[in-house]
Structures are given as C-alpha cells and as structure tokens.
Symmetry: D2
C-alpha cells in the first residue's frame, strides 16, 4: 500500500546474537514501514555478520536494508528511531557481579538490576550511556529511543539526565510473561483456552523487574479473586507458565512460588519472573542460601551458563551468516515493533514502558524512572495514570526506587561514596559496614577496566 512510511533506525549494540534476531524477525513480519537499519557495535565484526544476516532475510528484502556502521554518528544521523541493547562489559565482569557476593553469603538470582551486582553493573554502564545520550543529542535529537539494556531504570534515567529533551523509554517483557501466566490461569481454572495475553488488561505500577499488577481484567471479569484461588492451589507445588515459556533452561524458569507468596503476603500480583522478584526482597525471604532458592523453585542463573550459551549463539551466528541455517520468522512476543508502528500513526497501542514519572505513580518520586502502561499513538507516548503503589508494598518498592536514583546520581557524579550508601541500603545487604566496604572494593576492582573515570582511591 502506498501509505507505507520510510524510517531510519539505528541499533546500538547491533552485533547482538539474540535479541537483534528477534527484532529482525519482527521488522520483516510487519507491513507498515520500510527503510534503513544501521547496526552499530563496538564488536564491528558482529555487526557485519548481522548486516548480512539481515539483508538475507527473504521476507525482509523489499522492506529493509541493513548497514553495519563503524561510526556512531553515521549510524545515528537523523535516525527516526534508536534501539539500545548492549552488554555493559563482558561476562568476566558479570561473573564477579553475580558470584563474588556469594563468598559473603549474599546470593543473587540474576545480579544485573539490583543487589550488589546490580550496583556495580550500573556504575560501569552509566558512563557508556552518557556517551550514547550525548551522541543522540548531537546526531538525532528528535529520534525516539527505545532501551533494552539492564539495569533498565538506571539506563533510561541516564539518558534523561544527560539529555532531558530526549524521547526515550525502556521496554521489558516481564509483564507480558505475567499476562501469559494469567492466560494460563484462565485455562487451568476456567477452561478458557488460548486467550491472547493482549486481552488480559492489567494496570501496572512499580519499577522495572519489580512491577506489580493492581488490577487485572479479562473482558469485564475481575481476575483478582481467581488469582487468589490460583495462588492458594499452586502455592506448594508451583506451576509452569508454559504457553508463554520462552526460556531454554532451568536457571531461567520458575514455578511462580515467589509470586504466589508475595500475593499471599500483600494481595497484589508481582509481575516479573521470580528470579527478579526475589532479588528486590529482604535477603532472608527467598535468597538466604541456595537451599532456600531450591525450595522456592526458582534458580540462580550462573554466569558460566551464560558463557556456554554465548558459544552456542556464536555458532548459530556463523550458520546464519554462511547460509547454512535459514533465518525463520517467528513469533517473538516483543512489542518494540508495535510501539514503533503506533508512533508512526499506524494504530494505537497500550503497553507497559519505563519512563519518567510525571505523576503517573503519585507516591513514587517525580522524575524517577517507573514502569506503567502508556498509550502509544501518533508521535506520542503518554503514560496512563497508573495510580499509587498500594500501601502494602509501597515500602518495598519505594526503597528500590530511592536506591536506583542514588546509584544514577552517584555514577553521573563519579561519586563512589554516594554509590556505597546505595550498596548498603540494598535489600540483600546484611553485612557490617566494614565487611560491606571490603566486598564493594573487591567488586569495583574486578570491574575496574570500565571504571576509568572513577577514582577508586576516593573511597573513604
């Protein structure tokens, strides 16, 4: 049709061997847009591979041209959209983030958002995001910017603090997974099979990976009473969300026991995987030790697993590049492409995003990055008035939010002492001031390659 719109899209981290392929699939599958995709990556070789992989996709050929670019200015110049999805540092640094605290009795199931690992990861990520934000300001100030990198909240916050006029938001599929679980619930409890998660209408409040559903409806059926029954039924044994299951191995899955326990405690539906939720709660609740984790039926995602997984993805990249494996379009379950379409005026969309709090959650700080629903329509992304975090969980959520704001501010001002107050205030932290400082310094040293703008000797 002749109303197809042309766009230029820049992909920072475009050498990705995973998420990028999902996005390529979604780009190929839609029919409203066409244009150019610029792939920028510090691993330029990986970007070149993806350029070829992208340009080889049959269904995409009349729509998109992929370009690997070594020049961030070229990639961003006058872009309409920017995707950011990078790994800040390598799995070596992540190994320290996740596993060194275990020596001190602190266990983290993910370690990329919160916990001691989340703090350290944020410290090395923020300077990278400052560079990106400045480049966007210079080369494409009017672009819409979609972030996928963790720690989500802090990445988006950095973009806004460096370039306040930026049109950025962060995207995450954890809430989608909870909608899928609610769909599963309707199947299991009511025999209503195959309900599209989009038809499960939820109100979302919180911060990324620690989001909560305060209302859920299918048609005009209130899902909360049913969820209570569901949680009570499966509290002990747990249940697999199945239909929505995308993760490939044990350490990513969970059986919702943490989610059910949180519901029984507080009466609201926590809307992320149990691995994430557990990390935001006091350490004694779900992450006291590996046995407790096993009892709660979720997993500690080890970095060695991630390293192995990367090898497999590199192998697949080679196969796709060489043509040995054909690129198949697949249902990714992501919303990025629909968000872009809605912004281009191709149909309204309501979905959850991470964006500046202008009052959509009145009892979290104005200016913090929060996750709620937003309305996407022509050239606009407008959060809905999600309302306050319910009082029962406000203290849990607000402490996380406060800590994230400190970390961003500390990282931007390269103030390691301020960052340490967030380290101490983390829900998983149970060490004395002295022991905590020892761990902090060891972790910083392990990631020092990416902390060149900080003064590690400044720690008091």
């Amino acid at each position: 049709m002749n109303t197809k719109s042309k766009i230029k899209l820049a992909y920072i981290g475009g050498g990705s061997r995973g998420w990028a392929w999902s996005f390529m699939s979604d780009l190929a599958a839609q029919n409203d847009l066409y244009g150019d995709i610029y792939l920028y990556d510090i691993d330029h070789q990986a970007a070149l591979y993806n350029e070829k992989i992208g340009n080889n996709i049959e269904e995409s050929k009349d729509k998109w041209t992929y370009h690997a670019s070594q020049n961030i200015g070229e990639a961003l110049g006058d872009a309409d959209f920017v995707i950011i999805s990078i790994l800040p540092g390598t799995f070596e640094e992540m190994e320290s983030d996740v596993h060194l605290p275990e020596e001190y009795g602190i266990y983290q199931s993910v370690g990329d958002t919160t916990g001691p690992g989340g703090v350290i990861r944020a410290l090395r990520t923020v300077p990278m995001y400052e560079v990106i934000a400045k480049a966007i300001k210079e080369f494409c100030p009017n672009a819409w910017v979609i972030n996928y990198t963790n720690p989500m909240t802090i990445c988006v916050d950095t973009l806004y603090r460096v370039f306040p006029e930026i049109k950025a938001f962060g995207c995450c599929h954890e809430v989608f997974g909870t909608q899928v679980l609610l769909s599963k619930m309707l199947a299991v409890m009511k025999g209503l099979e195959k309900i599209d998660r989009h038809d499960i209408k939820v109100n979302v409040v919180g911060v990324n990976h620690f989001t909560w559903i305060t209302d859920a409806y299918y048609k005009n059926i209130d899902l909360f009473p049913l969820y209570k029954e569901f949680a009570d039924t499966y509290y002990i044994d747990g249940i697999n969300a199945k239909q929505g299951e995308k993760h490939i191995n044990n350490s990513f899955t969970c059986l919702q026991r943490v989610k059910f326990d949180l519901f029984r405690r507080f009466g609201y539906i926590a809307a992320a995987g149990d691995r994430h939720l557990a990390e935001f709660c006091p350490g004694d609740w779900y992450l006291k030790n590996p046995q407790q984790v096993t009892d709660w039926k979720f997993g500690l995602t080890s970095v060695s697993w991630r390293k192995n997984d990367l090898l497999e993805r590199i192998a697949r990249s080679n196969r796709l590049y060489s043509g040995e494996e054909k690129f198949e379009l697949h249902e990714t379950g992501e919303e990025g492409i629909n968000q872009i379409r809605a912004i281009m005026g191709c149909g309204d969309l309501v979905t959850n995003v991470n964006i500046i709090n202008k009052g959509q959650i009145p009892n979290l700080p104005i200016g913090a990055i929060v996750e709620t629903n937003a309305l996407f329509t022509s050239s606009t992304v407008t959060p809905t008035m999600a309302g306050p975090v319910p009082k029962e969980i406000h203290s849990l959520v607000s402490r996380v939010c406060a800590n994230q704001q400190i970390i961003t501010e500390a990282a931007l001002s390269r103030d390691l002492n301020l960052a340490f107050t967030a380290f101490l205030n983390d829900p998983l932290m149970k060490l004395s001031t002295g022991k905590a400082k020892e761990l902090y310094i060891r972790m910083l040293n392990n990631t020092s390659k990416y902390l060149t703008e900080y003064d590690l000797n400044s720690i008091r």
Copy 2:
C-alpha cells in the same frame, strides 16, 4: 454472536426530548450489548413517551427494552450503567441566569457553566445531584455513571464528594468539535478530505468547556504549525467547521474567531465552541457588549430561542410517540455508547472525559474535576498523564478551576456567602462589591424555588 453482554442501564432525565433520542439511536446501532433501559424523569409523562418511542425503534427491538419508571430505586437498582442528563430547573430560571446580568452590563453567551448564571445554576443543581449520588450509593454502588448535565464540572464533583467510591465521569462533545475543525483544516489547507476526527490525535488539558489542546497529530504530522497558518488565514473572516456542524441555528454557531485569537495570544488550541470559551475570559476580551460579540462572530444564545426550540421538540416527541414520524437512526457523533462498550470489554477506546484529577494535570489541584483523555478498557477508565496546563494559559484555567471548587463546596454546605466569593471572582464580574451583591440576591430570588435548603437571609 453469543458473546453479546446483557446490561441494565438507568437514565436519569430519561424524558429528554433531544439527547435521549441520540442515545437511543446509538444504542440501536451497536451490536455488542443488549438489555434493559430504565427511564426516570421528574416529568414521568415525558419518560413514558420515550419508553414507547424507544420500544418502537425497529433496529433496537431485539436488543433493548425500555421501561419508564416512577421510582428512582427501581430505575437504579443493580444498574450496570447510569446516565444523568437533566435540566436543573426550568427555562424560567435560566432566563434570569442568562439575561438578568445584562441589566448590569454583563453579557453571557451560554450562562450554564460559568459567569453569574453558571454560579446560580450550580447552586440549584448541587442539591439535586446530592440526591442522585445518595440514590446511586444505595441502589447501584458498583454502577458506572456518565454525566451529561451542566455545569459538568460541578455535577461530577458533587457525585464524588457525596459518594467518593462512585465510578463516575462526565462526557462532553466540545473537544470532538475541535477535532472536526482540525479535520476541516486538513481539507482546506492540505486537500486531505474527510479525515475522521478520531484520527486527529490530541492531548487535552483543562476543565469542561475551557479545554485546551497542547498537542495534535494526524499520523505523525504535527498539526500546530499548520494551525498557526490556519488561524492567521481565517483570523479576520472566520471559518465554519461545517462538516462537523450539528447545531441548528445561529446563536449556537461560531466562526472560530475567539479560538483563533486565543491561539494567537497564547499558542495553544482552545477546544470548545467560541460561545463557551468567551465566557471564561475576562469580560473585556470578547463579551464587553453585544456589538463586540458580533464582531467576534459568535452569538449570545437567548433563552427565548431555547423556549421556542423546546416547543418544536415537544411537537416532534408527539409525532414520534404517535408513530406519525418514524425514528431514524443517525450518526450522532457522541461517544457514550463506545465508552460503555469499552468498559464491557468490547474494544479499547481513548477519549476525553471529566473526572477527578489524581495528577493527570499536575498543576491543577488534586481532587478537582478536570478534562483530559482517558483510556477506556475492560472495567476501567484511566486518565492519561495529560501533563501540566501550559504556563501561558495556566492563570486563565486555574482561576476557573479554583472557582468551581468553591462553588461546589459552597453549595454542599449551603453557604451563600462562600458562593458569593466565587461570584465576585468570576472572570466576567466587573461590578463593585455592593452592585455585585445586589445582582447576586436578585438572581438567587429568581431561582428561589430550587433553593429551599439554603437560607437567603444568611447573606451578610
């Protein structure tokens, strides 16, 4: 289809000879819902006429059964939806509201929302709305309540103050008219014909009848630069919104000169008819005297016109009742039925509503009734974060908002002295304290039949 949902709807003011017929047409035209419509009116005869008129509509027969009811409890009992659309008092009282101030040099183009007439009308309306709110609390506390009566803001505010848990909102088509004007603009300026007003995406802030559009897009085209050109072009001569024209005679139409002048003053698109807009501005601007009104090319709607118009509508009611005239379905341009459908889970909708400010307009008082967009979806109406009233117009809007809050509070506490402070603060008020009090008392006396719960001797 078997998923059609059954509802009970109560219509307060169901003897209406105008808006009720539009609503009947919309009810008949939709295909997702069926059930019972209870018509309640203090003029029971009129409700009986509408019962028959409704039950005679061909297209409606398999969907709706109309019942005129003399008992508000019966009408409301377990209703899913309540429509309120009444005339508070008669045209006799309105005659005084609108025209008595003219003796004092104060001209009002509508006189039902603001101005001296708006204050007096509110004072007699609030006690009626207290009765309605209490009845809803008693008979159908879970119903969704849609208000159409003016003064809109004060009516909705009263519902919430009497029954804070009420699920109420107010509906008004003035913004729709402005979308139609923008559609006309695209035709006139760009040759884009017949663009549906729903495809004109606007962000709305303000209070009812004094709403402002702060962003407007068609697809991803920013309509503000074009509107500037449009306003400059038609500033002197004005332009008729035409396509969207629903009003039947001169005193209701306008040629947008006030709207264009406000844009040239402040840079935002006022989103109501000029007759309404003018009344919220200082009197010297557009309503100094009848000649100035003529120069601005809008009209002073006289109550004598309304009286004549009523006679015509009564005649038509007789024809419809007797079958002399056949009820024809027509495109009403109203959103009420779509809102109901969305709440029932039959498709999301974004439209403007009047509802409690929980922060969607951060620089108007929390708790005030404001008008912004809201997302209607399964069992939920959620305002979008419309954002602050722009600073250029904040003083204009906030004074209106403050005054409306005083009037509601004064009426609820039957405090005529407090109400007088709002009377004095009205933008059209230019009298000395003494003259203003004289006018106030005369107007109150003229509407005293409906002020039996007030003490007119209490005025200091």
Copy 3:
C-alpha cells in the same frame, strides 16, 4: 504580675508515677500561668495520690489546684490543654511484645514503637485513642492536645483521623538528647563547656524515634565536619553523652556506636537513642543477636527491669503522698510547659514535634505524622519547612513511615490481615510467611484482653 493567664489542663494518664511528677515540677517552676489541673486515670487511686502530691508542692500552691477526676467528661470539659501519657495495657502484654519474638530470633531493644512488639502494642493502643479523641471532640474541641504515649506516631495519627480538626501534637525528648550529645562534642573536641542544648540549632526530619539531623549549627559554626571527626574518634569505644544523662540504668544507656555507624554509613546524624535507632534498621545490622547488641554497646531493655522499676516508683509515690519524702523541683529537660506558655502568647519557641505532614517533609506522604521543628507562638503551632529526607536515608525512613500508616489504618478498621502486611514489612522481620503468621497470632493472643473489638479468627 497581672498578666498571668488562667488555664484548665486535663491530664489523661494522670496517675503516672514518673512523667507526671516531672510535669508537676515544670508547672510549679514557671510564672506565667495558673489554674486547674485535672488528673484522669483508669487507676483512679493513683490519680488521687497525684492530686495530693501536686497540691502539696510548696512552690505550686499559689498557681495550681490539682483535681483527681473519675469522669473523663469532667476532666476534659472546656480544657485549654490536654496531656495524654498512658501505658496501653500492662507490663504483662509488654513482656510478650518484647520477648516472645526472641524465641524466633528477633531481638528488640525497646519494642514499643516498631518491630513486632510495636505493631502489637499499636493494635491495642489505637482503640483507646479513638475513645480519647472522641471525648476531646465532645468535651473540649478547641483544646491543644499534647501526646507523650508510644507508639507516638500512631497515637497522634489516630487522634487526627478520628477528629481531623484536633489541635494535637506529640512531644519526645530523644532529639533533645542528641543536642546534648552535640554539646558534649563541643566540650570534648573544642573545649567549649556547658553549652545549653537550646543553642545547638538543628534541622530535624523523620518519624518519632527515627529522626535525623540534617543541619546543625552552634552560632554560625557548622557542626557536621566536627561530628565526622567526633564519630571517627569514638567509633570503636563509644562515648557517654553524660551531661544529658537522665536514664538510670544500663539497659537505657548507649555509647552512641549505632549513631556513629549510621553517620559513617549515610552522612547524617541520627537523633535518638541507639536502642531506638537500631530497631528501625534491618535486623542484621545491629540486632542480629544479643552478642551483636553488646558489641554495639547498647542494651536490650527487658520488661522485668521495667517491672522492678515500677515497684520502686510505687514506693516513692507512697513516700510523696504521705509526706515522708518532700517533692523537690528539678530541671526536667522537657519542653511541654514551654510549649504551653508559647501557645498562650508568653514567648515564642522553636522545638521538635510530631504532627501531620502538610509538606514540611516533601518526600514523606502528606498526611503522615512526622517529626520536625515547629514554631510555637500565640495560639499557633507551625512546622518549619524541614525539607526532604536526604536520599541516602530516604528508603530507611519512608519504609517506616509507610508501615506506620498501614498499622494505624489497619487498627482503625480492625483489619488484622492488613496489619499483618505491616508485620511482614517490618525491618526486623526475617521469618517466612508461615512462621511470621504463627508469631503474629501468638502475640495477638497474648494481648487479646485489649483486642476485644478485633476478630482474631478473621486472620486468613
């Protein structure tokens, strides 16, 4: 002097054998006021004793007449001031509050404000305060009401929720003790001896017993740099505040190590005794087990100590009543009488109070009871704009504040399930949902004599 003002003061809990005597001493020592003191107590015998003790005070005879009253209406009728200082329940209930959690590994140093004990104490106190608030509304709605009972925040909150127009505030001397410590610091570090604590000017933010000083000056000397040095010097060994020491035995004293550790963590001066401060922090920090408490050089105040202390105070009451011991005026260090004088127009005063947050701490919830400075002047108590809780400690303070609001609300609505969410969210809570519920129910049963308006079987 002829301008002496006459007042009527009602003392709820007027049989007190401790604080009442301090107050009598202060009343006798001042020279601006005279009048009648009504002592009301559920232990009327104790009130009668205090009546005689009061009327026997030599220095008081031309100023005050004490009346023990069995009728709360008589005591309160047209009172100008009301003092509330009661023990909610007996030491039997307090024994369970403080010590039963120890079976579950939860140690509390005070147990009357926060922690599991604080929650349970609040649940039995709120209904008593509802009775008091209603009586004040009935018998002396214009009185100024000063609360001394713990849990302070929840008591004051209850007064306001039951009777929103009440002129109430809560008084606590913990901040005074910190001013005394700063005075000691000036002596030890700077050789400035005997500086009156009133000349140490501090800005206070927080909630009762978890208050923080964000600015401290003596003349125009900033005390923060000095405090850093002070905290570093005495961090290991601790230091006794001495000059200000009023407490009589070990389990009440502390050597400031917790206070110094909190300063080294977060950079602000915690302004309460270490026993209180420790209870508001995560349990692993200072209250993991008795040994850790000893290491931090503060004490767990046992209820058996309180019981013994009471016996001694009863003995003293007998001696004072019989005249065997003469009542000696003494410097009490309390501000109650100065607050009353200021309100009567006898000299302005700035001191810390617990009162409704109207924005004096912008980042704690509006409506919560917070502790800041206030200006006391003729018929007015106005908080100063204390400013936000610093970000480093915001998560610590806001969680406490949120929990206290839940407890009040739960108690007022007799909702034991809602109260349980606060129990779970308490910083000291480390139990699983199941174990926590077991403890909760046992504790409730131990205080059930005072929970007759709750339904203990309602717990899910």
Copy 4:
C-alpha cells in the same frame, strides 16, 4: 563584648540616597557585629558620598568601615552578606512604565511590580540581575544575599535561576505596615495602646505586594473577629494607620478602603498598602479611572513626584556629605539588620521573606518565589509551613504567581513573545490583542536602552 562577630557586607546599589541611609542607621545602632561595608554603584560618585557619610556617623565609628568600590569583584569578594537595592533604569523609563498605559485607559498606582509597567520593568531588570547573580557565584558563593529591589519576586527568582545554590531572600516592609495597622486597630477598638507590631503574630501567604494574612493573634486573642468589626466601621471613611506612617506625601498613603473591601469580599486580611493591592485585582475593581481611585482613597503615585523627591534627596546627600547636616540615628522599622544578626547566631527571629516555594504554600507552584514567614537562626533561613492560599483568594494570587514565573522565564530567554502572554494575562489588561501589542511595543521602545540583549523585531 568579646563575642562580637566581624562580617564583610557588600551593598549593590550602595549610592542609594534613601534606603542606604536607613540601613546605615540600623548598622550603627546594633551591637553584635562589626566589620566592612563595601558600597558598589554604577553611580560611583554617589557611592563615594555614602562612603563619607557612613564613615562620619558617630555611633558607627568603632563598628563599621565604609568603602566605595568601583570593582564589583572587590566589593563582593568573600562577602558574608550582600544587599541588593538598585533602581533598574531611570525615572525616564519609569515614566513610560507608569504613565503610557494611561493613554490606553490603564491606570497603575505604583507600576513597578505588576501591571504593564511591572512587566516592562522586569524585562530590563532581569539581565542586570543575571550579571549580579553570576558575580555572586564567582566572588562570594557562600554569602547570604538580601534583595530589596522591585519587582521583588522576579529579582529573587532570577538570582535562584542563574545560581540555584544561592542563599538569597527578599525583604519587604509591607506586611510590617499591616501589623502596624492591626496594632492601631487594638488601640482604636480596644484601647490597647502602643502594642509593638512584633507582638502581632500573623501567618502570611502570597507573593510580594500581594500578601495575605490568614491568622492574626495578639497574645492568644484571635484578631479576625475584631478586624471584621474594624473593617465594617471604617469601610466608608477609611482610617490612617498613623503610628506606623512613614511615607511623606499623599500619593503614598492610603486609608485602607481597598484592604477593607478585600476583607469584606473574601474574609482575609490583605497585607500591603492599598496602592499595591489594587494593581493585582481586575482593573474594574479599584483602578478603572482616576475618579474611582479617589473614591477608594488611595493615590496614583506619579513619577514626576518621584523626580522631585529625588532632587530633595540629592540636596540632603550634599548636606550630609559636607557635614552641614548631622546624620541622626532613627527607628527605621526595617528588619534587615535583625535578619543578619539572627543568621550570625545572635538571636532567633521570625519574619516574612520572599524565597523559593519548597512547599510552604502547597497550592502555589513549587519553585515559585513566595512570601511567608521564615525562621532565621544560626546560618539558616527556614520558611514556616504557611499553608495553602485560602480558596477564596487562590485564583487571584495564583494568576499573579503564574504570570511572574512567565515573565522571569521570558526575560531569561529574551523571549518577548512569551513575555507578551504575561502582558495579556495581567489583571489590569483589558485591551484587544492588537491594541495590547501596540502598547507593548511602544513601552518596549521607551525602555530600549536597557533591552540591548533582546530583539525587538522578534515580536510576532
């Protein structure tokens, strides 16, 4: 005494022939401070005169050394306090500000704060204040800065916007005058003679020159009922505040009729001279034409009067300089010196100041400059929680506040079109857009000498 503190004070506008002399008198009269006063003025000759006048004051000799300085850096360098009291432009510009609008039927009684004249004056003042703020940031960032220049609000706002960490506040004696009136009231109505205005305790809300008293007490007597009686008694004839009268000629005095009328309208005590109050109200109320002004018994202060007065003050300057006239200390009624003493730790003080709204007036915008009481103590100026502007007057005050914020912002960004929106929104503005623009441009041209950084051709 040996505790006298040494300070350096810089006086911007130190050539003043009026206010500077009052300040010199106050400096000489106090006994806690001594040091150096640097006088900086663009009229260096005038500063030199004041240097000699100051150094000749007998009572001042052992305390203060005055230095006229041509170098702002020298004057400000490491100053402890900065006073700013300048005339922005000359009386030529002021002539246009005040009198040109009269050609268009707009009468201003002062014309330096609000009204068309206030807007234009602000536009030329802001760039001067930017220079001053930057110099303070460079030369004495820790100084306390006291502003006396009008437009007060906009001057203080500019200081904070340019240098957000500045410790600045604005001082104005209009509220003092209202306290004096209340003292007069006690004499006239109650026979209580010579009550010190400091013993009249008032709560102040609003913006400079449009402040309102919401509570007033003498001892514990509520002064509002008495003021009602007072206002009713003197409404027609007016009354002179007398005791407090400092102004020297008719066009400065008023007989409180505007103040009484505002009280009778809204129930609160407007706390500024009637000349100021009238300008903030809709033009029809008190400033319709010169006859109406006469009827209300206040005066239009003509600039020709100011010019004559200046000649007299220059003559006096010559006499004081030559020694022909001896400098006599006098009771000035100003608080500046007491504020400085309080900040230096020489005694607490509560008085009204103009400072950033951090929530002390919750219903005016956070960040706006508002006037309320503040507590002055060691190194601290803390507003008290003044509370909301009462609803009856909120619309009047908030429109002024909104307009002032626009003007500051427009001036800082040199945006004459934005400033024009404030010009249009001014309460005195009654012209059509076209006529208003004509007046605006003529006024701008008359002050163009001071608008060199603006582009007058940019006006659309």
